[in-house]
């Protein structure tokens, strides 16, 4: 049970067609495999356009992959079964504005009783009297708490957190992250955190997967990847962060923009921004090489770092 992969994506692809013939496609997620084990927190990190949000939606079942499959507790899962829930990025659009808080939370509970709704609200630190209110009467942080209450009301196993605090004020973020940590400690939820901010990833995740232009470029235990990054992109992300996290031995300045996802660069997709790019990087796409037990890197030059 310890190492059972509770939720897993196996070689998933997702392309978004740009025209009706599907000739031009945005390759949002291109052959990605990730997994998460019970009560662990997996972070999927990347910039906008890296495919992390799409991957998150695929894991939740909201988007069907074009190729590959999603496994829940080892067996294929199609559609929704309520045990994988999601907390969305934007608190303004994740609650139905025409519903009162009571209805929003009770929709998720099994027995629709007042007690279970009140309990869910108290668990996330909200006064149960809020049940009469409408979403527009709540602040961003409060709305996000309601979203969390709704997610936990179904007694899920896995909660996918899609940039849960990005839209909140810096001073409120800590409250919500603390709440999430608390809940995980008490109830043993498994989290998949999708975020671009490395400070938060450092704070709550056990393992991390770094995505770039639809592909996984590095993965491993958080401490290992942060203290010993092997991919230039990871080093770039770590160098750019304003949070108090370990800084890489090699400082890599930010440069360039994300490449086209319709016609990505040949070979390694990161080579157009990589200060270490070589000939091989243009011709051969790097696979995920293992550097140590769980630490994998998709870079031809990983041994040098």
């Amino acid at each position: 049970m310890q190492f059972m992969k509770i939720l897993e994506a196996v070689n998933v692809h997702k392309y978004f067609p740009l025209d009706i013939f599907g000739r031009k496609k945005i390759r949002a997620v291109d052959d990605v495999s990730v997994y998460v084990t019970p009560s662990e927190t997996l972070a999927i990190v990347g910039e906008s356009g890296s495919g992390k949000t799409t991957l998150g939606r695929i894991l939740s079942g909201l988007i069907k992959p074009d190729k590959g499959k999603i496994l829940y507790k080892g067996s294929g899962f199609n559609g929704f079964h309520g045990k994988v829930q999601m907390v969305f990025q934007n608190p303004d659009s994740s609650l139905d504005p025409s519903w009162q808080i009571y209805d929003i939370v009770s929709e998720a509970t099994n027995n629709k009783s007042l007690e279970s709704v009140a309990e869910a609200l108290e668990t996330v630190g909200l006064n149960p009297a809020y049940v009469t209110k409408y979403p527009y009467e709540l602040s961003g942080g409060e709305k996000q708490r309601v979203a969390i209450a709704r997610a936990i009301a179904t007694e899920p196993e896995v909660i996918i957190l899609d940039e849960p605090v990005s839209a909140l004020d810096a001073s409120i973020r800590a409250q919500i992250l603390n709440l999430l940590l608390d809940l995980q400690e008490k109830k043993g939820y498994t989290y998949v955190l999708i975020d671009h901010d490395l400070g938060r990833v450092w704070h709550i995740s056990d393992r991390v997967v770094v995505m770039y232009a639809g592909k996984v470029v590095e993965e491993g235990k958080t401490e290992e990847v942060f203290q010993n990054p092997k991919h230039p992109y990871t080093m770039m992300l770590l160098s750019a962060s304003t949070s108090s996290i370990p800084k890489p031995k090699i400082h890599v300045d930010i440069q360039g923009e994300l490449p086209s996802l319709i016609n990505p660069p040949s070979g390694c997709r990161f080579r157009t921004r990589c200060p270490f790019a070589q000939e091989k990087c243009k011709t051969e796409e790097p696979q995920l090489y293992s550097t140590s037990s769980e630490h994998k890197v998709a870079c031809h030059l990983f041994e040098k770092f």
Partner: protein, 296 residues
Amino acid sequence: MIKRETLLKEMNEHKRTIKIATWKTFKRNKISFLSSLVILGVGALSVLGIFYTPYDPYKPSFSEALMPPSLMHPLGTDWLGRDILSRIIAGGKYTLGLAFVAIVIGATIGTFLGLASGYYLGLIGATIQRITEVFLILPTLIMATLFAAILGTGLLSTLLAVAIPIIPVYAKLVHSATLRVRNEDYIEAAKLLKKSGPYIMFNHILPNILHIIIVQTTYYMGTGILTVSALGFLGLGVPSPTPEWGTIVGDAKGYIFSYPYVVFIPGILIAIVVVAFNILGDGLREALDPKLRRLL
């Protein structure tokens, strides 16, 4: 600890507060409020007309033909000696009633279609939208005339001739409105709760687009009334001697220069009611706009 009864009471209280605030906003637009009173007044008169009119609207009285407005006949009499006021009161239930029922039927069916095509997209959505667009090529009145020609004259045919062309109008309207809402995160959240398509359409999408439907319906009431009366005027709608307002005007058109009041009084009444519905629509748009709710 909150008790269930107190909670339900408080939740309903809260909903009421919002309804009251909406009402207050509505009242603030004086012209719109006035229009709603005009419509209610005319409507009440028409309902009255089901039970009572000062004179028999059908019985001719040749000796009293074409009398100008007087104390006995406040709006005068027509060429058959029938009291115009009584005819108008009696006719209200046809003009307004038919328009109302036709729009409601058309709106309901159109909304169902629009929700389905907007939510499901894909082949279903595209098919519905293409069929809708075919019907939208011709203006409502021409469509109505076409149906009237096929279905003949009479109450039921007029009803259908007005209701059917309105269906695609609503289908398109609701389809667009649905598109705006269906990608919101709260819809995704409902899917994660294993809710079915119809559940989501009626509980999450419809409530959030209802204000658009209501406002448009107010405008289309005007369209409906014009269409019913236009068909009546052309002789393709409610037939004489039934005093549908458009029919009255149509029958009376020969007298437009000699005894103008026979033609203009019902005509002006139609115009007033249609304008009132339009102004009411503007006022409702302000009052129901969810964005303005935040300023409460």
